[in-house]
């Protein structure tokens, strides 16, 4: 025979979806938030984000090359870039470069490569990095610059974030403290202090819409998560006005960033629609509980990490609905 045919089992066609398409798709979805962060935090944002992305990519490459001695190039699949972006989005814009390096090392080294690289990590690497930094460097990690300082980096002027104000209202100052909160419009567009990526609610929602439209993610996690938060914070607000209203809760802190981009991380979220609903709702519940009754003003990162640990359990017990009627006996 002139040429040997290739033989393989069906299917013989592929949908042309790829890991890269999904990873870079999420990166594209982050672009509106990126632009907002650059607009509000200027050069500081640029330095933090660039450092974070480059450090993550570098550590993945270096660990693969020198520790795992694996010749396969994995940095092109986009997952390290995405981790870097998300880590950067979870940091304040005045964080020194050396701290960011430590965060990237923990995120990629401990959070991802220790477990075997892409697809094997039980916890969201970016959040592992962020929480490590939050516990190790609480002062640097909780001083947020005021929005609108274009040319400032570590020297930026800092102020209390909306979340801190909300916490203050609960812990003693009462309803009057809530009047210090920025207006709803400012919260929506992002003209207030906070981590880089979390300030602009509208930019994050645009990103979410893009991911849903391109079918990178399904609606289950963000909807169940945000829905739970709205319902619970609404009930709290009705019971006592020192708890801020649902729309303020929704648009402050890392809630939207977490709901749209961190909780929906493929690797660490459950596999079935039912499991995703449970997972999302549980994160929402934990976030509200931590924000309202916990010591930290922000509970999103912890809530997601806690539920990451439950993902294998959810996978074991939440099976998709099998095709077929149940035979009546």
């Amino acid at each position: 025979m002139a040429n040997k045919f290739i033989i393989s089992l069906s299917p013989h066609v592929h949908g042309n979806d790829s890991v890269q398409r999904n990873m870079y798709g999420v990166c594209i979805a982050l672009v509106p938030a990126l632009i907002c962060s650059l607009y509000y935090f200027g050069i500081g944002a640029a330095i933090v984000l660039a450092t974070s992305v480059l450090a993550c990519v570098f550590f993945e490459w270096a660990i693969n090359k020198f520790i795992l001695r694996n010749d396969k190039v994995t940095i092109t699949d986009g997952s390290a870039i995405l981790t870097g972006l998300l880590l950067g989005f979870n940091l304040p814009s005045n964080l020194p470069i050396w701290i960011i390096f430590i965060g990237a090392l923990v995120a990629i080294g401990v959070g991802k490569m220790t477990f075997g690289g892409l697809g094997c990590n039980p916890f969201n690497p970016a959040l592992v990095g962020r929480v490590f930094l939050l516990i190790s460097f609480p002062v640097q990690m909780t001083s947020w610059p005021v929005a609108g300082q274009w040319m400032a980096y570590t020297d930026a002027e800092t102020a209390a974030t909306p979340l801190a104000i909300m916490k203050k209202a609960i812990t003693g100052d009462g309803v009057e403290a809530l009047s210090e909160l920025p207006s709803s419009f400012d919260l929506l567009v992002g003209a207030h202090g906070g981590c880089l990526g979390e300030v602009s609610a509208i930019a994050l929602l645009i990103g979410l819409a893009y991911m849903l439209w391109t079918r990178i993610i399904t609606w289950h996690i963000p909807v169940s998560l945000l829905g739970t938060v709205v319902v619970l914070s609404g009930l709290l607000h009705l019971s006592n006005p020192i708890y801020s209203s649902p729309e303020q809760v929704l648009m402050t802190g890392g809630l939207l960033l977490g709901a749209c981009f961190m909780a929906t991380d493929y690797v660490t979220s459950p596999m079935t629609p039912k499991g995703q609903l449970i997972y999302g709702a549980s994160i929402g519940l934990l976030t509200v509980v931590i924000r309202t009754f916990g010591a930290y003003p922000e509970g999103m990162s912890f809530a997601i990490l806690i539920m990451n640990a439950f993902t294998p359990l959810i996978n074991t017990y939440c099976k998709p609905k099998r095709f077929g009627e149940v035979i009546k006996k």
Binding site: M1, I6, S8
Partner: protein, 307 residues
């Protein structure tokens, strides 16, 4: 001072109480186990390979004790430990020593890339079971080695590997314990446990092609075509012909090597015999190139591993 006394008394009391509980529990929930099982387990290799057919070494030890109580340990063999281990077990259990011939896995296919042309290219999970679903697979032969290494992946002793040059599985006789895992996993039933034979010398038909002669001839240079010449030449009735395929009964074979010379295809192999004198090699016709390659290659390699 009081604090120390209180601590000592309290801890002592707790310790005593727990000791009583443990003592009662150990008496009440004691499981009686034949002490001989533990003794037998000790002399077993503890590889827990399951080659004996029992769930691990402990299971095998239990079976040995049970069989010894019933009278005879016939049929029980630890393939890993072999005869020495069985002797030890027999001694512990006060049984006659039964000598079973040591065995080794033999891959009954010689369809190397050279002997058996590839007619298609397989693209998919490198697993024999997957390739099997595509019919004859990469070669035209519906019986031969698929070369994806399912056997190598189940071998716990690292005794099988796929030779990248020949595309075939190869057994390292020194490491093979004849546990039979590869025999069970091979989807084409190519691997057979055959007695090692005196000085590891044995005869075997390295082909399992049951197609008619014409087809077998077409797909592989060294296939058995079922011509029956070996059956005729064998003086000990050791060779049988079943659906176009010769089989040498190792119990009857006297290693005379006549069948090897008679086989026009070079499918019968004399394994681990010393190389023949050059004169004999010259006599073989040029049509048997494939056979010569195979013979020359096998003994030299096995001698190295046996040395």
């Amino acid at each position: 001072m009081d604090v120390i006394w209180i601590a000592v008394v309290a801890l002592g009391a707790v310790g005593f109480l727990l000791a009583v509980v443990l003592f009662v529990a150990s008496k009440k929930f004691a499981v009686h186990e034949d002490p001989r099982i533990a003794q037998v387990s000790e002399v077993l290799p503890q590889a827990n390979c399951g080659g004996c057919g029992y769930p691990g070494c402990a299971g095998f030890a239990g079976a040995c004790v049970k069989a010894a109580d019933a009278g005879t340990m016939e049929g029980l063999l630890c393939p890993v430990g072999g005869a020495p281990t069985m002797e030890n077990i027999a001694k512990i259990l006060g049984q006659e020593i039964i000598s079973a011939a040591p065995k080794v896995a033999v891959i009954r296919c010689n369809g190397t890339c050279e002997n058996r042309p590839r007619v298609a290219e397989f693209d998919g999970v490198r697993s024999c079971r997957v390739q099997l679903m595509l019919g004859t697979g990469e070669t035209g032969c519906a019986f031969g080695c698929l070369g994806c290494g399912d056997c190598a992946s189940v071998c716990m002793f690292g005794a099988i590997h796929i030779n990248p040059e020949t595309g075939m599985a190869e057994v390292d006789e020194a490491k093979c314990t004849a546990c039979g895992a590869c025999v069970k996993i091979c989807p084409r039933r190519i691997i057979e446990l055959r007695p090692k034979g005196p000085k590891s010398r044995r005869m075997a038909v390295l082909c399992v092609n049951r197609d008619k002669g014409a087809v077998a001839n077409k797909v592989c240079k060294v296939s058995c075509i079922g011509c029956g010449k070996c059956v005729k030449v064998c003086a000990f009735e050791a060779i049988t012909m079943n659906s176009n395929l010769a089989y040498i009964d190792p119990e009857k074979c006297k290693l005379c090597r006549k069948c090897e010379d008679a086989c026009p295809r070079g499918a019968i192999h004399a394994i681990n015999f010393p190389a023949r004198k050059p004169k004999a090699a010259e006599e073989t016709s040029s049509a048997q190139v494939g056979k010569k390659v195979a013979i020359d290659e096998r003994p030299s390699k096995s001698i190295e591993t046996n040395a």
